[in-house]
């Protein structure tokens, strides 16, 4: 990761829809270099995806949680596959610290959430869950600095 690449990433982190011309103007990196570097960062999977963050509450999804789950060891792979395909899951991480996965779920209301949890318990041997209800997001996808790059 060199300074130019980080400058490009930094701009895209703030606004992934900004034009390459705009990045070039703001960074003094030639537009052809911005283009090539961006393609490289996508190809080598440093940039995994361009996405849009939305206000889920405004869209009608009022029940937002983070849930740590410990699953029976022999069901772990099937469990991950199952969770990957659930539409209500916004993020899914493998974790340690006593649990196996951390999921972030979104439902319209607590009733939908409880149905989801019930299905989960029926389908798999859940050893333990720990739920945290999200009241509101304060900051999202804000990490935007590299300690080795001096700007």
């Amino acid at each position: 990761m060199n300074e130019k690449e980080w400058k490009i990433i930094s701009h895209l982190r703030k606004d992934a829809q900004c034009s390459l011309a705009s990045i070039s103007a703001n960074t003094n990196i030639p537009i052809s270099t911005v283009h090539d570097k961006t393609k490289k960062l996508q190809k080598d999977n440093t940039i995994t995806r361009y996405t849009t963050l939305v206000d889920f509450k405004r869209l009608g999804f009022h029940y937002h949680t983070k849930i740590a789950i410990q699953i029976s060891h022999h069901q772990r792979d099937d469990f991950l596959l199952y969770l990957k395909t659930r539409n209500c899951i916004n993020s899914l991480f493998e974790v340690n610290g006593g649990f196996d996965v951390m999921i972030e779920t979104l439902h319209r209301d607590i009733k939908e959430h409880l149905v989801f949890m019930e299905e989960l318990h029926e389908a798999f041997e859940i050893i333990e869950t720990k739920e945290f209800q999200i009241i509101n997001p304060v900051l999202q996808e804000s990490f935007n600095y590299h300690p080795n790059i001096h700007r």
Partner: protein, 146 residues
């Protein structure tokens, strides 16, 4: 929220740089409708367009979800501190006996320890729970298939 709007959101969640012409072809929604809908969504339902990164590739090997509880007097100060901290990617206000869950990104465990020690010294953290993220299986996946 109608189906067309959700379809547009779905496409932008998958790829926020996808051209409206491409979305129009895939969805059958006229480009003018997509354009008008997008204008309505920006600044209200859409909060930000960003890139998701592979932090391991960037040299950040320690990522965690840190759950924090602090005394009421220190709540605002802690919130402001976390908001400005360079190693914090996301912050959520939560309940169930906690105040915040913070997603942190550090180069190594030592840096995370230093971050947490400072929080404890300055804000008197009453309790904390750390879940180290081993692997991202899915990220920002909600509504990509509305």
């Amino acid at each position: 929220m109608n189906t067309k709007t959700l379809q547009l959101i779905g496409h932008l969640r998958v790829n926020s740089r996808e051209k409206l012409t491409s979305i129009s072809k895939k969805t059958g929604i006229p480009i003018s409708t997509l354009f008008d809908t997008l204008k309505e969504l920006q600044g209200s339902f859409i909060t930000k367009s960003t890139v998701l990164l592979d932090y391991e590739r960037l040299g950040f090997h320690t990522r965690a979800h840190v759950f924090l509880k602090v005394a009421q007097d220190n709540l605002e100060g802690l919130g402001k501190h976390l908001d400005c901290n360079k190693n914090v990617n996301s912050i959520y206000k939560i309940n169930n006996g906690w105040n915040f869950v913070v997603e942190t990104i550090h180069k190594n465990n030592r840096e995370l320890d230093t971050f947490l020690s400072r929080l404890h010294e300055e804000y008197g953290i009453e309790k904390k729970e750390i879940h180290y993220l081993i692997e991202d299986v899915k990220r920002e996946g909600f509504l990509i298939n509305p």
